[in-house]
């Protein structure tokens, strides 16, 4: 006898109810922060200046304006060339860090990260000092000039290098020594081992690094703004259309064109990542490089050369910021750090940046971590959890400039009850959190996946509310990852230009934007000074983080020790 029974629906516990409520709230917040601004932007591209629907007219106008279309080709060209240069360079550097025995390895690793702490206009400024109209080495260019394609490429290589290196170090660090021993035992040549073991193992890392560099270059705004000269790219076009010509509809169209390659690269990366299976099983033996004179010497020299390149650009900006009147009077001065001489906001823009970055770090970390926890731990409720995942992933594919533009359209609309946020510090914080949401979300998800999935089941069986387990167990265990997210948001909050350029008001101008304005007004030295202050601040915060990790966390996390 087989009874057909109606499926009993399980009643929701208090925890289930609260968590579902949390997921709903998260969806609403993410829709406001990411979904609706982008939707408004999309719609704006189909309207004329007065807000009437005009279908594809703007797009038709865009593609029939040669000047605008050429920018798109320029962007692609620059991005392609940078990718071809950065990826091999970063691969060798990452290979040196992971597979060779280097003296002062930690130092080389640290130097490679420096560009992350700088706004993207810093390398542009340094190049102006070196090769600009009054640059030291202008003669080297033999009548050519640094403003334009070459300048953008060099500055972008500097700016993208750490991003590619980080990905490739991760890809190369996860190697199984047993594969190399097997290859050795089978008598494979070094070259054959490289092409059959090393490269396949790092394949996905290489693809990922290439896509990241391509996207960074195509969406970056600071470099092209400073050193692009008459060489127009998509990112500068958006700025010109919106700020210069106040043509918001055309700005939206260029924004959508800018979104396409970034979204495409992101899509490809997702497909590739899905194919990747864990190479490092629990039984793998980590590869520890053994000393080998010739190889180690080569890679040490290589790392020194790259490090000198990075330090030269940073050092040039720092030196330039201290010089009285480049290149005629090279005596040193602090005058360029008296920002009130160059910009009405003076040092206030720096304090604004500090406040904004701190706000993004605090609120952003809380939102991303709690959000990731809700997505991971809520029982059933699949549809909305998938929606959260989608919304959390979206910002990664969206250039900051595009998101910023979406914010203008969405939050500035008089009909939006949230438009009181416009031109406040809050909107800068919200925008920055949204712009950098994905990485924090993924970091939190990874951390949460590493802890035992049965903690919540145990809590339920012991009748302990789930939020209590979150506070007492989950969050403390994930503390290192939570700090990582906070630092990531802080550093990006300090350096970001692209998404906030449309959103600041005179009172809330940020240091990175001020640097751009000062540079625009022609005072390279003060712009460099402001960039250096930003670099020092983010680097100092990162250093504090490392110290805290080593000493404070060591004490708080005694339970990790065996």
């Amino acid at each position: 006898m087989s009874l057909v029974l109606p499926a009993p629906r399980v009643r929701l516990s208090r925890d289930d109810f609260l968590m579902r409520l949390g997921v709903v709230a998260l969806v609403v917040v993410l829709l406001l922060m990411v979904g609706l601004p982008l939707w408004t932007l999309l719609a704006k591209g189909f309207e004329d200046r007065d807000g009437h629907f005009v279908g594809l007219a703007n797009y038709a106008a865009y593609f029939s304006t040669p000047a605008l279309f050429i920018s798109a080709l320029n962007s692609f060209q620059v991005a392609a060339v940078c990718t071809v240069i950065v990826v091999p360079l970063a691969f060798l550097y990452a290979y040196a860090l992971t597979r060779a025995v280097l003296p002062l390895r930690w130092l080389f690793q640290g130097i490679a990260l420096i560009p992350i702490f700088a706004p993207s206009l810093l390398p542009g400024l340094a190049l102006i000092y070196l090769f600009g109209n009054q640059g030291f080495f202008k003669a080297w260019l033999g009548g050519g000039q640094i403003y334009g394609f070459e300048g953008i490429v060099i500055a972008q290589v500097f700016y993208c290098f750490p991003h590619a290196t980080l990905i490739l170090v991760t890809a190369l660090a996860t190697a199984d020594a047993r594969l190399y021993e097997a290859a050795d035992a089978l008598g494979a040549s070094k070259l054959r081992v490289f092409f059959t073991v090393t490269l396949p193992g790092a394949k996905y890392g290489v693809i990922s690094a290439a896509l990241v560099v391509f996207t960074l270059v195509i969406t970056d705004f600071g470099v092209a703004k400073v050193i692009g000269g008459n060489f127009n790219v998509l990112a500068t076009d958006v700025y010109k259309q919106v700020i210069g010509q106040q043509n918001f509809s055309m700005g939206a169209v260029v924004g959508m064109v800018l979104l396409a390659p970034a979204a495409l690269a992101f899509g490809i990366d997702q497909l590739v990542q899905r194919k990747q299976v864990a190479l490092l099983t629990a039984r793998a033996v980590p590869l520890v490089p053994k000393p080998k004179a010739g190889r180690d010497l080569f890679f040490t020299l290589f790392c020194i050369a790259v490090s000198i390149g990075i330090l030269a650009i940073l050092g040039m900006a720092a030196w330039g910021s201290l010089i009285k009147y480049w290149p005629y009077n090279l005596s040193l001065t602090w005058a360029n750090y008296k920002f009130e001489t160059f910009d009405a906001n003076g040092w206030d823009s720096y304090y604004n940046s500090l406040a904004m970055a701190a706000g993004a770090a605090i609120f952003g970390t809380a939102l991303t971590f709690v959000g990731a926890w809700l997505t991971e731990k809520t029982r059933a409720f699949y549809l909305l959890r998938d929606l959260v995942r989608f919304l959390a992933f979206l910002p990664m594919a969206v250039p900051g400039l595009v998101l910023g533009l979406g914010y203008i359209f969405f939050f500035n609309a008089p009909s939006n009850p949230l438009n009181f946020l416009y031109a406040t510090m809050a909107i800068l914080v919200i925008n920055t959190v949204a712009h950098f949401y994905t990485v924090g979300h993924l970091t939190a998800i990874t951390a949460l996946k590493q802890i035992d999935p049965e903690f919540e089941a145990v809590s339920a069986s012991l009748k302990v509310p789930i939020w209590r387990t979150f506070m007492r167990v989950t969050a403390p265990i994930c503390l290192p990852s939570i700090l990582d997210i906070a630092i990531y948001l802080f550093v990006n909050g300090m350096t970001t230009v692209s998404s906030v350029i449309f959103l600041y008001s005179p009172d809330t101008k940020l240091a990175s934007v001020a640097a751009l304005n000062i540079e625009e007004a022609g005072t390279t030295a003060a712009a460099a000074a402001l960039c250096i202050v930003i670099v020092l601040t983010s680097a100092a915060v990162k250093a504090l983080h490392l110290l805290a990790d080593r000493f404070l966390l060591g004490r708080l996390q005694a339970w990790r020790r065996r």
């Binding site: 087989s2 009874l3 057909v4 029974l5 109606p6 499926a7 009993p8 629906r9 399980v10 009643r11 929701l12 516990s13 208090r14 925890d15 289930d16 035992d452 049965e454 903690f455 089941a457 145990v458 809590s459 339920a460 069986s461 012991l462 009748k463 302990v464 509310p465 209590r468 007492r472 167990v473 403390p476 265990i477 996390q557 005694a558 339970w559 990790r560 020790r561 065996r562």
Partner: protein, 352 residues
């Protein structure tokens, strides 16, 4: 009335049926093992009983109360997972007292109860240490103490011993069983280890492909397997293919072998004639023994306490376990010819 009544329980994941129509009763104070290969649905059934992965259809009653629709937090159970799921950042004492703190008990009362529980599991001094500082077996006991702290009516153990090495596993089997007997707590344990199930359980539920194959005492399961699957999964078994010639006779190749009466099977049915290797007799065989065969030792594998012989009787090949004594006494060796008997009362017959 039984303590736990599972009725017509079903669990589907999309088109996949993980549990098909399971009904089961567990008496109060009983120790029941769900035994089966991986993917048989034993853990799914345990998690449905806990409310962690609710069933698609069917009901569960605990102590006369229908808990089918209750979330886990409103059911009465303690659980130990294969991973133990100890909170790594809390001390052993805080782990054990985790469920007590939220019940707003006085701090001294909690401390006393924690000490009591740690003594119960044989770790009276582990309180201030962190889980990572304990061995696997010790962590297992802490998890058990934590699950028992709130004095649940039902204790659920999900493969609690499979992450431990063999020696510790053996010792903990006895300790858990003894503890369960002392406390009298109704217990369900999921395991894929038949030896574990045989030594610990009062009753075993053998599962396969989302269905129950047999429920019975360890002796029943071992001696009288109800299906070919149970016969094969629990212990070793010779399977000889043949045809049922008469209600009490199976034709295997050229041999006609006697078996217990098979009222359920029609003559002429293709069957499998089964006997366990240790039930193959060689010593003190009367000349008129039933199922007397002459066989040759084709292979002899040394296992330790006994040897497993592969015997050839005509075209039939079967395994037999011989004790070291027997091997010495009879001088069994490869190539040796032996008379063997397959006692009909030890034989099981299943439809092929």
């Amino acid at each position: 009335m039984s303590y736990l009544e599972v009725r017509n329980l079903q669990k589907r994941f999309g088109d996949i049926t993980a549990l098909g129509d399971i009904s089961l009763d567990v008496a109060e104070g009983e120790f029941v093992c769900f035994l089966g290969p991986s993917g048989c649905g034993k853990t799914t059934l345990l998690r449905a009983i806990a409310g962690l992965d609710p069933q698609t259809a069917g009901t569960i009653q605990q102590k006369g109360l229908d808990v089918s629709r209750l979330p886990p937090a409103e059911r009465d159970f303690g659980i130990v997972f294969q991973s133990y799921a100890l909170f790594p950042n809390l001390t052993v004492a805080d782990n054990v007292g985790y469920g007590l703190v939220s019940r707003r008990q006085a701090r001294a009362a909690i401390a006393k109860r924690v000490a009591e529980l740690l003594a119960l599991v044989g770790l009276p001094d582990a309180g201030p240490r962190y889980p990572a500082q304990l061995s696997g077996g010790q962590q297992q006991r802490v998890a058990l103490a934590r699950a028992l702290a709130t004095a649940p009516g039902l204790l659920l153990l999900d493969e609690p011993l499979s992450a431990l090495d063999a020696r510790v596993r053996l010792r903990l089997r006895h300790e858990i069983k003894a503890l369960q007997r002392t406390l009298g707590v109704t217990t369900i344990m999921v395991t894929h280890d038949q030896e574990e199930a045989l030594t610990m359980a009062d009753r075993i539920v053998v599962m396969n492909a989302g269905a129950i194959e047999q429920v019975g005492t360890p002796q029943d399961i071992y001696r009288k397997p109800a299906t070919a699957f149970v016969a094969d999964f629990v212990g070793s078994m010779n399977f000889l293919s043949g045809t049922l010639e008469a209600p009490e006779r199976v034709k295997v190749g050229a041999l006609a072998l006697a078996c217990p009466p098979q009222p359920g099977l029609a003559t002429g049915t293709k069957v499998r004639f089964c006997i366990r290797p240790e039930d193959v007799r060689v010593r003190d065989l009367p000349a008129d023994s039933i199922n007397l065969l002459s066989a040759e030792v084709a292979e002899l594998d040394f296992i330790g306490a006994f040897c497993r012989a592969t015997l050839k009787a005509g075209e039939v090949s079967l395994l037999a376990d011989f004790s070291s004594n027997l091997i010495r006494d009879l001088g069994v060796e490869q190539g040796r010819k032996l008379d063997i008997a397959l006692p009909p009362d030890r034989v099981r017959v299943f439809a092929a």
